[in-house]
């Protein structure tokens, strides 16, 4: 599909349907590449990172910028978990069960393509309240968040007081 046509169609039609899942309308983040990395199994962050690292490298060999950025490190992952729970949570719920935005639970996302998820997080969805988060996230961050959401998002860690 011509990516430009896709974007135009999305603006014309998808914007009015907030109930549609994020994945249905979002423009592809990586128009030249489809990402076929499997969802992460639940597990400790570093363990997950190593597994994902290999998949990331293979899957994105030609997505130069992203491969160079690499996946977020453990400290960044912790920030991202908190950000998703708390800030994305203002619309999607602290437990990601939905609100003004759709539910982002593992079950709700079961049939959604990973690349569209990442694209929606990074670039937003025009015509809906889903904002582009690229001012605060790298593409690698967005992809990592999408992976985590599809695998069942990690519980927040308790902050030290």
């Amino acid at each position: 599909m011509n990516p430009l046509t896709h974007i135009k169609d999305m603006r014309n039609h998808c914007g009015e349907h907030l109930h549609m899942s994020a994945a249905h309308c979002a423009p592809p983040l990586f128009t030249m590449e489809k990402l076929h990395a499997p969802p992460l199994p639940p597990g400790p962050p570093m363990h997950a990172l190593r597994r994902w690292g290999a998949a990331l490298f293979l899957g994105l060999a030609s997505a130069g910028a992203l491969a160079q950025q690499g996946a977020p490190d453990a400290a960044r992952q912790k920030e991202l978990v908190r950000m998703v729970r708390q800030d994305c949570g203002s619309c999607h719920g602290l437990y990601l069960t939905g609100g003004l935005g759709p539910a982002l639970t593992r079950e709700a996302l079961a049939d959604k393509p990973l690349d569209s998820m990442a694209a929606t997080i990074y670039g937003g969805r025009p015509g809906t309240p889903m904002a582009p988060w690229k001012a605060m996230l790298s593409e690698a961050d967005a992809l990592w968040i999408a992976q985590q959401l599809m695998a069942g998002f990690p519980e927040p860690q308790k902050d030290p007081r």
Partner: protein
């Protein structure tokens, strides 16, 4: 003395209660309030004269985006949880007095002027439900069915004089006004085509004008409720002047209205501005550049100041507008992730929640000095019982 002993003695002499931990002496409710600890499902009960935490009430479920209304006597807080729970909390005994799971996903509620009806606004299933405030029995269920089989998410619910409630349908671009004076036969007036994607609304302090903010276009939808046949007018149309909107990381809230004198102060969507509108002519009379996307734009009760907080990533700041000059007179940084502000009944102090610092700050609104701070786990909404006496709160 232990709490158990206190309970045992209750029958013996009420005088003894005064000395029991957790059992307050006979007291008024005018200086009570609650703070939502969103991540632990806990409600903190506070005293705004003493600036202290009195108690924590646990077990309220998912309190992300929880909001609260108060019974007319200020004794009970009705807490609307994200998970659809409506919990009635007794501020004097610090206990849950009633609880009902009324929906799958809820966003807030309202209480009638006479205090008899508590109404929840829901996303899932989309619509409103009215409950008897004494028993929490369901009184009326009004699905927001705008097309056969299609329910809209409901936003911007406010109480109106009488047993009437106005609300907006996010998915249907409509404002509905339901009259529940005959509980068995609610009558709903439907105003369609109000503008795209109403995201929240407010009612003016006199109960006359209902104003819905629109996410999908520049402008707001306004209804004069004193007209024989209410109709929708567009106000502040095209306030973005065709410029590309900035990202909106969090929807503004209109509920803590900011009507000061004859001016209303409203958050712009996708612009780092507060819009000023004349409430007689409903024309824009100014716009004030601010430090980020405004979320709450709230007038101090006397209307002299308007306080503004912001969405991520600018939510470590709070700005104060002097309404006599329309200028920002102070920028405060009370903590990380400021989510909400609440004025004491006459506005000499404001309480501000900083979610990521787990802190609530009490700030003098004249000197801007911090008068007290307290530790609360991820605090979000702050609600004082003075809301019980205000239309639209």
């Amino acid at each position: 003395m232990k709490r158990r002993d206190c309970l045992a003695l209750m029958g013996a002499s009420s005088l003894l209660l005064a000395g029991c931990a957790g059992m307050p002496a006979a007291t008024g409710t005018g200086d009570l309030g609650v703070i939502v600890a969103r991540s632990t499902g806990t409600l903190a009960i506070v005293n705004t004269s003493q600036r202290t935490l009195l108690a924590e009430v646990k077990g309220l479920g998912d309190l992300s985006h929880a909001s609260v209304v108060f019974s007319r006597d200020g004794r009970y807080a009705f807490v609307f949880g994200r998970d659809g729970a409506l919990t009635k909390v007794d501020l004097l005994t610090h206990r849950i007095a009633g609880r009902v799971m009324q929906a799958g996903n809820s966003i807030g509620g309202a209480i009638s002027a006479d205090g008899r009806l508590v109404v929840a606004q829901n996303y899932t299933p989309g619509g409103i439900k009215a409950f008897d405030s004494a028993t929490l029995e369901l009184v009326a269920d009004i699905p927001a069915e705008y097309e056969p089989g299609k329910l809209s998410r409901v936003v911007g619910l406010v109480d109106l004089p009488g047993h009437r409630f106005a609300y907006s349908l996010f998915d249907a671009d409509a404002i509905w006004i339901s009259d529940l004076s005959d509980r068995a036969n609610p009558v709903t007036t439907k105003l369609p085509n109000i503008g795209r994607q109403p995201y929240d609304a407010l009612v003016t302090p006199n109960g006359r004008h209902y104003i819905a903010g629109l996410f999908g276009e520049d402008g707001l939808a306004m209804v004069d409720l004193w007209e024989e046949k209410p109709r929708v007018r567009r106000i502040l149309g095209g306030y973005g002047r065709g410029q590309e909107p900035l990202p909106v990381y969090k929807m503004p809230h209109l509920r803590g209205w900011a009507v000061a004198g004859r001016r209303a102060y409203l958050p712009a969507i996708g612009r780092h501005e507060v819009l000023v509108v004349d409430t007689d002519t409903w024309q824009e009379v100014g716009r004030i550049p601010v430090a980020g996307q405004p979320v709450f734009v709230m007038a101090r009760p006397d209307g002299r100041q308007v306080w503004v907080n912001f969405s991520v990533p600018d939510y470590h700041r709070v700005q104060v507008i002097d309404t006599t000059t329309q200028k920002i007179v102070r920028t405060l940084e009370p903590g990380k992730a400021v989510l909400h502000m609440e004025f004491t009944p006459r506005g000499e102090s404001v309480w501000i929640s900083s979610r990521d610092d787990h802190r609530v700050s009490v700030i003098d609104t004249q000197t801007f000095a911090t008068q007290a701070t307290m530790t609360v786990d991820s605090p979000s909404g702050i609600f004082f019982t003075s809301r019980a006496a205000r239309v639209g709160f």
